[in-house]
Symmetry: C2
Subunit: 753 residues, 2 copies
């Protein structure tokens, strides 16, 4: 196909423009840029690390999960702070389904008796770890009720390819209980895939390999998860839709129309419970059957076996399926010139237990950012556009606060939202920026202007050094050849999801990490004591987050023209297109190869006759797929983006200014540009997800799938759907390119006039 060749002819990086000659403040004229620089210096001068520390101590002092007394107290405290800084603040309350455990029982009944402790012990070295009365027990929220008994099967991470491995050995999980380890996918995928394969229950344990002693010293000596530490977490089927399971697509207000609980499709089909590795060890140790392949082996001091049996377990779970109030804090500072253009900034405030790292480390940075803006405002500054700060509740349970709020306010958000900037857990290390590629240049410019607290170089240069020295070959090449550091695409896992994936609002997720390793995630040990020792001692990276996210917010709010830039988007989307083309080709080659090996009997010939072995099934050949319209659209988008960039530069060079009316029209086009990338019907089998470029994977959970409609169809070998989805993406790209072209027309007109 000729157009495939066109895509491949485009070498990586060839679509990018060197921004060396670009103004350092995208969207600002020269004069305005100087003022902005001064403003940002004043903003920086306001930031106090001690505020972050004090607020963390306050917010993480007690367990504050959704529906808890301290969650409500924290909401009140945060709202009061925003108010005191001059924001027009309100708490928006929703009523949502939140099951908590009544009964949790896991026992091994054969070949020996053992009852899992399901408890994390208090530590004298951790001041808040003993608050047992207020702690949520270790459990997975939105597991269904159940009382099941059966043989146990170890399923590694419990993702689809693990079940292929089981199939190769003739092991069926039907009627059995599976034991999966954490990681390798988002946890909610594990019970979903287990149920699809006929399992009747699912246990998820924290193997020491991923966040325990294999990684380093365990808490309290070091930051990692100890033998009795366990990971709470939601298992609702978020890749279907996040938020309250009972109110898909609409805000969970008191009077919203609700599904009966039994019909809620995002509640699991089988009971599921997380356990520590101390609780998992006796179960695994007693398992029989063949030894698992090397990638399946964790770090417990035993040979890992598949089962099934002789380990038999009983898993009994009963929940209190209650409705609880949810408190979102919404704080607004109205724009002076374009109040109808909203820059949204958010972080959640609820936690599984005390949540010093997750989410308080990010929340306190967002608060300090807002306070600093408040100080600027008190000194006379006003943003040109409206800034909205959001502190979400119920994120841990399924991004509930942000989802319900955005669903309720969907129409006005689609009209007014410029962008949504999210943070969550933050810690010592390297800048981690992901999101819409139209914001890549903005975030790069901000990263060049913030100093890494440890190395006294910019956080951009520190990240570049990381990629150059420890990145994949592709990351190394990118970091060497591209002026901009590439930002990653967003999957899911925090509150940007509804804004980006459901509403098509350009989004970013910003934070630091990489030198804050540990295993306190979703345990009672995610505490102030843990964070102050291992997360970000001195809160220096909290301050860095305030500086970079503050710059992004300030520039979005104050720029003459919204700082969107499309060559990075077009280049990145072309890259995704090449990935898909390669995926199809690889799949075709693999299929031919496997079918030939099957026909020749090679698998059977190589198999060990002392071990059960079932050869894979032959697959139909991969046909030629007609992606012509998609490929044309990608090429056209590249051209559109290029012309837009050139027109912007020409206008800047000309020294001419746009009329306020033209500027407002241009902003209107830019503000809505990302909306074009959504499709009204959404993705196959999950219409809530509208974005055609980014989505969390149906079988990865948090992990992103770019061009999800096409990619997942190809992965599932659904060729017809892949071709159909490619047309949908093409339509979105055509619309996106058309909007960019309109913007170009305005820019050219201004340069002419």
């Amino acid at each position: 196909m000729r157009t495939v060749c066109l895509l491949f002819a485009c070498l990586p990086g060839c679509g990018s423009i060197s921004p060396a000659d670009d103004p350092p403040f995208l969207g600002f004229g020269e004069a305005q840029a100087a003022g902005q620089r001064a403003l940002e210096a004043r903003f920086d001068a306001q930031i106090k690390a001690d505020n972050l520390r004090d607020w963390m101590k306050r917010l993480a002092a007690r367990p504050h999960h959704l529906g808890s007394p301290y969650d409500r107290e924290n909401a009140g405290f945060i709202a009061a702070q925003f108010k005191s800084w001059g924001f027009e603040t309100r708490i928006e309350e929703f009523q949502v389904l939140f099951p908590t455990p009544r009964t949790r029982l896991l026992e091994m009944t054969a070949p020996a008796s053992f009852t899992a402790s399901l408890a994390e012990p208090a530590l004298k070295e951790d001041a808040t770890s003993g608050q047992a009365d207020e702690q949520l027990p270790v459990y997975n929220a939105y597991s269904c009720d159940g009382d099941v008994s059966g043989e146990l099967v170890y399923v590694n991470h419990g993702i689809p390819k693990d079940y292929e491995e089981l199939e190769r050995r003739g092991i069926d999980v039907k009627g059995k209980i599976v034991l999966a380890r954490y990681y390798g996918s988002w946890r909610g995928i594990k019970p979903k895939v287990a149920a699809e394969h006929g399992a009747i229950g699912c246990i998820i344990y924290s193997d020491p390999h991923e966040d325990g002693f294999f990684q380093g010293d365990v808490y309290p000596k070091g930051p990692y998860r100890s033998g009795r530490g366990a990971q709470r977490g939601s298992v609702m089927d978020m890749p279907l839709y996040p938020g309250d399971p009972l109110t898909p697509g609409v805000g969970a207000t008191a009077d919203a129309k609700r599904l009966p609980i039994k019909d809620a499709p995002t509640v699991t089909r089988i009971p599921v419970l997380p356990i520590s590795h101390d609780d998992a060890l006796p179960l695994l140790q007693a398992l029989g059957g063949p030894v698992v392949p090397e990638p399946w082996r964790g770090s417990l001091p035993i040979p890992y076996h598949f089962g099934p049996g002789p380990t038999r377990v009983r898993l009994k779970l009963e929940f209190d399926w209650k409705m609880v109030p949810l408190y979102n804090i919404i704080a607004r500072m109205a724009g002076s010139e374009r109040p109808d253009q909203w820059v949204l900034r958010g972080n959640h405030h609820d936690a599984w237990v005390n949540g010093a790292a997750d989410p308080v480390s990010g929340m306190v940075a967002v608060m300090e950012e807002a306070r600093a803006l408040g100080e600027l405002a008190k000194a006379g500054w006003r943003p040109r556009r409206t800034i909205v700060y959001c502190a979400w509740d119920g994120e841990e349970e399924g991004l509930i606060g942000s989802t319900e709020w955005a669903e309720l306010h969907a129409d006005e958000l689609k009209r007014h939202a410029v962008a949504y900037i999210n943070s969550d857990t933050n810690g010592r290390g390297f800048l981690h920026a992901s999101g819409s590629h139209s914001l890549e240049r903005l975030v790069n410019q901000a990263a060049r202007d913030v100093t890494d607290p440890q190395k006294k170089i910019s956080v951009a240069e520190r990240l570049r050094a990381l990629r150059l020295t420890r990145g994949t070959p592709e990351e190394q090449r990118d970091a060497r050849e591209r002026a901009e550091l590439r930002i990653e695409a967003l999957g899911s896992g925090s509150d940007y999801t509804v804004f980006l994936d459901h509403l098509g609002i350009a989004s970013l997720d910003l934070g630091f990490n990489g030198e804050n390793g540990g295993g306190s995630y979703h345990s009672i040990y995610d505490s102030f004591d843990h964070y102050a020792r291992f997360g970000d001692p001195g809160f220096a990276y909290g301050v860095a987050l305030v500086q970079i996210a503050g710059r992004v917010v300030l520039r979005l709010a104050d720029a003459d023209t919204l700082p969107f830039e499309f060559t990075a988007s077009s280049e990145t989307i072309a890259g995704y297109g090449r990935e898909i083309a390669k995926l199809v080709n690889d799949l075709r080659e693999e299929t031919e190869k496997r079918n030939r090996l099957l026909k020749e009997g090679r698998y059977e010939a190589a198999a060990d006759p002392r071990q059960d072995f079932v050869a894979p099934k032959p697959q139909p050949s991969v046909p030629a797929l007609d992606f012509a319209r998609f490929e044309k659209a990608v090429v056209a988008l590249g051209k559109s983006a290029q012309e837009n960039d050139e027109a912007r530069r020409a206008l800047e060079k000309s020294g001419k200014a746009m009329t306020p009316e033209a500027g407002k029209s241009l902003d209107g086009l830019l503000l809505k540009s990302e909306r074009a990338l959504t499709g009204a019907d959404g993705l196959p089998r999950r219409p809530w997800y509208k974005h055609q470029i980014y989505a969390p994977g149906f079988y990865t959970g948090y992990g992103v799938k770019t061009l999800p409609g096409i990619r997942e169809a190809v992965e599932e070998r659904n060729w017809e759907e892949a071709v159909k989805q490619a047309v949908n993406v093409a339509e979105a790209l055509e619309l996106y390119a058309a909007g960019i072209a309109q913007a170009t027309t305005l820019l050219k007109a201004a340069a002419r006039d």
Copy 2:
């Protein structure tokens, strides 16, 4: 360089000839081939699995290490057997240095007290495990005496790149004791490299990751090494020279001139002791310092730290440096037509303890092969060439028996030896054939004629299936595109070493493995009980080894013309040349990249300031290396080999026979062909190693380095030496090609006449 391009232009496999039209018995005329087929059928009919079982029971009934009473008894028994089968048999005795322990003490003195047990417990499930009186204790032979105390440092596998990793953290082992884990290199490399870095002692332990519970159930439940199982083994510096440390280059006869022990360069410089992981755990657990990187982590249930300290240990070792008698059994069946052409076949008979797998599993197959030949001889058959069976002693201590014998008989061996065919440990699984590539076609033809006992396809097709389904991409391509299965190059680790590397005698190592996993290696649990359950139940692969090695021996002995073939050699050597060219290019690119990153300060910028970090040093650029003569020689060799192959086919097609004189001349050329690949001066700093194409690595031990002179010089960045070595190799290849051309002349003359 133009000639580099020539090498690269030659695609992998392009030098190989499809043997589809080749006679199935290389070296045999059509009529003779029919007789050979019938002979081999009669040979097969003789083979009895019960003999292998009975002899294993007998030979492994008691510990039989070098110098032990049962070693001598076994030697007598084996010699008596060969005699009874009609072989002219003698025991050749040598006097060799063999230190055994007087004192073994390892204790931790800080931060806690612990004394290592250094003992493997008897098991009721293993009948011979309790023979404590005759067992050699757990130790490393040819460790020097020593009594050292110091801080402990964990050094992973203890190979040079591990010390680079230590250097990056500013950790120096000078004056300290290192703890290395087994695997990742031959064990003798570990104390050698440790001493080079200034360590004063070396402990080697068996991490469960490599052959313990991480791999599967431990003995006696399964085959793997238990917590108290340990690995004995020699640590003499075999990459310098193997055999008796006191008689380098000459046979260790009673009156041989000997070095004083203190001057023996292959005895270690620092004391070294192997321990079990139960003994290692307390030492590792107490170590401080940074957590090691992921590839360094084993499977003990602890975080692995570098140290140094606070663990301090004392290591005290004293040995009885005694001389012991060594018994090689040499059994000869004289050839009827060309008695001066010797086909050598061997396996060692000594073990570390009972040695059912290592070496008895291979030894009993060699014996059954000899017995079957004896039966054929009794029925009137006589080999055209002389066959010599060898049962070596003292292999475990450093290939002593074979080395001393071959050094003593070097001149006659160089004149008469056709090839040396080795076996050692054998077990259930896949054919493993390594050696001189001039024998690749011979071994492939034999492998096509032997049936895999489990799958009832040929062992060649079973191996091809393995490579096609589980091989590296390169192996898969080879197995698909090449008619012959590629044999591997030989490093060291068994008795072929002196024949191939020192004398330039074409060699093969043959055995089965891959489905006989386990961790009994060099422990008291390498017993009949272990082997009969896990090694090769029913001894079916012992029988398969008899069949394939017997065919190789019979065809070498009986062929009209010696079954050597040179296109595989030339193709393989060209491949090694491409590897070297790639190595130089990669090193050049890496050097430039690293120097640039250093100059830009990227390593420093990316490093975690909370951890010690020392940036690597800049390296001089890699210059252009003049390998022109080598590259020309490779191309010329390819041409020579091709012409030889064509001439042989032409003669076969013509139906003409060579005169006996011409045939003998041709055989003489073929017999000596491999000798041309040796260089009189040997390799740099280790003149004992003469072969220019194959050698064990100076820093890998058993692991092969092909084109070792060039490759190791490049790896050490010694450019001058690399260029000089390339000339040496070129000279060898030119000589090799000239010999092949002479053979071609004889073939052409015969076809003409």
